[in-house]
Symmetry: C2
Subunit: 334 residues, 2 copies
């Protein structure tokens, strides 16, 4: 499609119907969506995992992805973190009048592809068009529904003293990719977002280690903030070693130049996995055998002391408390 | 809460956590939301009805409601239209930096109250804060999940020749209330949005008449557009009589002044109900006994001729085709 988006496309009338038919139905097509009733009919049994996220990332196209793919990956991942198999997504668009329809189509195509690759179907949608200046290009809400595979489900409340803290790969790629694109910076080695759907890797880990205690993807606020949340929810201390946390040299370099800490930058294709010590090696082996977990490593352990805190051992052997993110490093990162 | 919203409130860090704790958890509190994992765990069995809608209404406060209550009513109603009992909502906020926190709290309180009154729980949420000018105050996505009560479920595909077309009340109230507020117009009799959750009334109708063929709420595009959708989905003609369609005198007067047609204005607390002729009186009796269906009436019937069309008999006895909405009467109506 070419041209510009008009207010008319959000009216609920003829132009809306054409947009839905020629854009959304074409790229998201499946038999549930095709019914076009006010709600989608899902033949599914519980227990279910449900998660919602609105994506406002700026710019909408960035190295390694775009807002469409990200809106699928992000919600697929949140559903997966409850030990669930994501099956269905809904999507709600807020679009700015005057948006280039070619850009919208690129985003929609990317979203459709990401959904197919992750094995999820987009079953319901909504489109609002707001006047020029009332939104910035494209915002996308996705809500994901999946079936929980293990009982009890992994939860931020289940980290227990003695557990190993594993991480599937390097930190900070997504955050730095967005920031450098936005500011027109280029580094010697390009920095690319890690955004990816983690559901199949999570499935393999659960097959090998059904008793995973915690799964959590360190998005906004980064690894440091996410570990603090888990420490708080479980009432335990998370002890990690700085030297074990993988950071890509290009990301480390960019962060040094910009005064950013990669431990507080958002990731969109990595997860933290906390398992009983006895299961740690099995989980790591599964992760390392998958392209999305090749850099998996053990970064620390859970202890009973310092409940609610994250304690990091520095390369020089000192220990410091790693707090939650304070202030805003970077708005519209996801 | 007082003061202004900062970018910080959307960072995922400390300020975000405070906003979530002091605003959303306080007013939406329930045991599922309280777990605060990446996804909510729902103990529910299918088949399910799922619907999503993003609300961008301008202004955010209007006679008869606000964007918070509307975001609950709208999605509760869409889920109900599949003959389902809505149980859970997710909500995704996009908030503009600088938003008055008092206004946000009014919206959140109203949303919490609307959810409690409709018997639904808000089980997952997300908040994004975008820089000043990147969004207009507040956008809210809600996604609703409910259990389908009847089999087969009502669907826009099930209108059959001989069926009666019923309507629960007057047309155009929401659309005109929004427009008149936005333009600073006042009429002799105040025009108030009809926005309301219809789930309990739908439940009563299904108890009395399990074989409801179609339920649909005429929101964007109004009654005329919604009947066209049903006619198209079912491959039938919808024949209605103009004189039977209830329109409040204040709405009719306002529409006359402004050159608007109430049959194309959005409604947020009414539904179309298409049932076998033999069930029509029973359904109307149930509707009229409920405050939200007091003005219920029969507006026409389904026929095999003119498939895909809506044919309206005018008060003078002429017949005309009623098309879908073309052009945009009114952006940001919901």
């Amino acid at each position: 499609m070419s041209g510009r988006l008009l207010l008319d496309h959000g009216s609920g009338g003829k132009a809306s119907q054409r947009l839905v038919a020629e854009m959304f139905m074409r790229h998201f097509d499946n038999e549930i969506l095709r019914v076009m009733d006010d709600a989608a009919y899902l033949d599914i049994s519980g227990p279910l995992a449900v998660s919602t996220d609105t994506f406002t990332v700026d710019p909408i196209f960035f190295p390694g992805g775009d807002i469409g793919a990200l809106s699928v990956h992000g919600t697929v991942n949140d559903v997966s973190m409850l030990g669930a198999t994501p099956l269905f997504l809904t999507c709600g668009f807020v679009l700015e009048e005057g948006l280039d329809l070619g850009d919208l189509e690129r985003v929609v195509v990317s979203m459709g592809r990401a959904a197919r690759e992750a094995g999820v179907r987009i079953v319901a949608g909504d489109t609002k068009v707001v006047p020029r200046g009332a939104a910035d290009k494209i915002f996308i809400n996705t809500t994901g529904i999946g079936t929980v595979r293990v009982s009890p489900a992994p939860s931020g409340r289940r980290a227990a003293p003695g557990d190993a803290i594993l991480l599937t790969g390097s930190m900070g790629d997504h955050g730095l990719a967005i920031l450098s694109t936005r500011q027109g910076l280029s580094f010697e080695s390009p920095v690319v977002s890690d955004c990816a759907s983690l559901n199949f890797l999570v499935g393999k880990v659960l097959d090998a280690v059904p008793d995973v205690h915690v799964l959590r993807d360190p998005t906004r606020g980064g690894l440091a903030t996410t570990l603090n949340e888990i420490a708080g929810q479980s009432g335990v201390g998370c002890f990690i070693e700085e030297s074990r946390i993988p950071v890509d040299p290009a990301v480390a370099g960019g962060c040094a130049v910009l005064g950013l800490d990669p431990l507080y930058l958002a990731n969109e294709g990595k997860f933290i996995c906390i398992v009983p010590e006895a299961d740690a090696e099995a989980a790591l082996a599964v992760m390392r055998a998958d392209a999305l977990g090749r850099g998996a490593c053990r970064i620390g352990e859970v202890r009973a002391d310092y409940p609610g805190k994250v304690v990091m051992t520095t390369p020089l052997g000192g220990q410091r408390l790693l707090g939650m993110l304070e202030g805003e490093q970077l708005p519209r990162i996801c």
